[in-house]
């Protein structure tokens, strides 16, 4: 029973969502099921929050490696949660916008969360540079093509591309680096992306059918039959 009911729910929901696209009389069923999904998605926050607290509290109590970071995580989570739930310093009161300017939540968001997040993302530039140095090596024909394409894109995504090849006459504009960069994006890149998308779509169709028909059951924590 523990397995049959989830499989049955998956079958009904999956079938209705597909059929509602093709049969207008049951179109609203699809919408209703989407609303159910949106409601269930909210509970994922409870699960996520609970899990975060459980893992990091345990780590801090047992003084496992980097337990200090766990205390910061738990404190950050609790303070943000209180500021958001009780709308601390919010002009609109408890019914106001959680992100109202001047509220504690929005201040912490703007002055702590945003700079920290932006700093993490900014580190990407350093790692990309280091990875480019190590990875883009003309070891064979394929790697050389990738290297040349990366040079064109890197230059084409800056105004320097225009300065370097801006003098090229319009009849030969394909050799203008920004135009060449656009061509790489809209021709070879596009072809590759489409192939990947078609592949993924076919995979999604086949996996969805396996789920709907109950062939794929690993999401229930059991092996397929």
């Amino acid at each position: 029973m523990k397995r049959k009911i989830p499989v049955l729910i998956t079958f009904v929901v999956g079938s209705v969502l597909i059929l509602s696209v093709f049969f207008p009389p049951i179109e609203t069923w699809g919408e209703d099921f989407s609303i159910f999904f949106d409601i269930i998605a909210v509970f994922a926050f409870f699960l996520g929050g609970g899990n975060l607290l459980r893992i990091h509290t345990k780590k801090a109590i047992k003084r496992q490696k980097d337990w200090g970071f766990s205390i910061v995580t738990v404190l950050g989570f609790i303070i943000m949660l209180i500021a958001g739930l009780f709308k601390v310093w919010n002009d609109g009161g408890i019914a106001g916008d959680v992100a109202a300017p001047g509220s504690l939540f929005q201040m912490m968001y703007n002055w702590i969360f945003t700079p920290l997040g932006a700093t993490m993302y900014a580190l990407l530039a350093f790692f990309v540079a280091s990875a480019s140095y190590r990875a883009f090596r003309a070891k064979n024909v394929g790697a050389t093509i990738l290297l040349v394409a990366s040079f064109i894109i890197l230059l084409g995504r800056t105004p320097l591309g225009t300065y370097v090849t801006g003098w090229i006459p319009k009849s030969l504009s394909i050799f203008n680096i920004p135009d060449l960069a656009i061509w790489i994006m809209t021709a070879p890149n596009l072809a590759g992306q489409r192939a990947i998308m078609i592949g993924i779509a076919l995979g999604v169709v086949s996996m969805s059918l396996r789920l709907i028909l109950g062939v794929e059951r690993t999401y229930l924590g059991v092996d397929n039959e």
């Binding site: 609109g92 959680v98 540079a129 140095y133 800056t158 920004p178």
Partner: protein, 304 residues
Amino acid sequence: MSNLGLIISLLIIGAGLLWLLIRSLQGKEVERRIIFLFIGLAVSVPLLFNITFSEKATPIVKALYDKIDNLPEGSNILLSFDYGPTMAPEVQPMSDVLIRHVLAKNHHLFLMGLWATGQSLGAEAVDRIIKGDFPEKIDGIDFVNIGYKAGNQGVLNVIVTDFRKLYATDVGGRDLDSLPIFNGIKSLKDMDLLISVGGGFPGVKEWVQFAGDPGNVPTGGGSAAVSAPLLYPYYPRQMLGLMGGIKGAAEYESEFKRHYERFKDMPEPGVKMMGPQTLAHLVIMAFIVIGNLSYFFGKKGKQS
């Protein structure tokens, strides 16, 4: 004085790269920390000395600009904040300039987010841009922020046929039916343009697949540079235009400033960040060359 500082900084970077180039000819590899140091310099020097370049909108950016510019006054445009603070430095300039453009054309602006972190960024944009540059615009009449709902593309699946099934109020707790801007608006199909700014999941792709296409509503977007190549298959039939990375934002800002005299002094974070991007790209290219030289010369040294 600042020009002198700039020249000295560029000379230091150039001399450093030349020194690394000579070392690479001897087959020596460059340490990771040295690469980090050069990237740090390449990013900070243009910011310190305010190096900017003029930008011209490429067709994919111009298409989005033209769409907003050519819609009749009072059109309904929805802007979704589908990102968080991590991505904000790259994509926030896109949201900023889009908000300015939409309101300068006297369109109705609907703000929302498929990312929980997007709601705060939307509120911040309202506070900074709308209240700062458009004090005459009234919340609920000219613009509205309906905020975030959990459910990713499931949210789009519902609001493509009926907003009110998911959104009863705006972020301030006001009933949607009490807001004049929502008069005659039932679903996303009543919008004249949908724009998603983001770079992850859910983002522009989901807006095209679950809102633009099924609702037959023109859709455009702004995306972080890393995810922009994934969106090209949708251009131009399903996605009318796209700002890709900071360059896309800079192009849009330049185009907007060229045509709107009133905003000639507006901040241009996109254009400003093109300086660091340009120099960083050059340094990365130099390191690729250095890496290849040290690879080939190092291999030759080992063989001999």
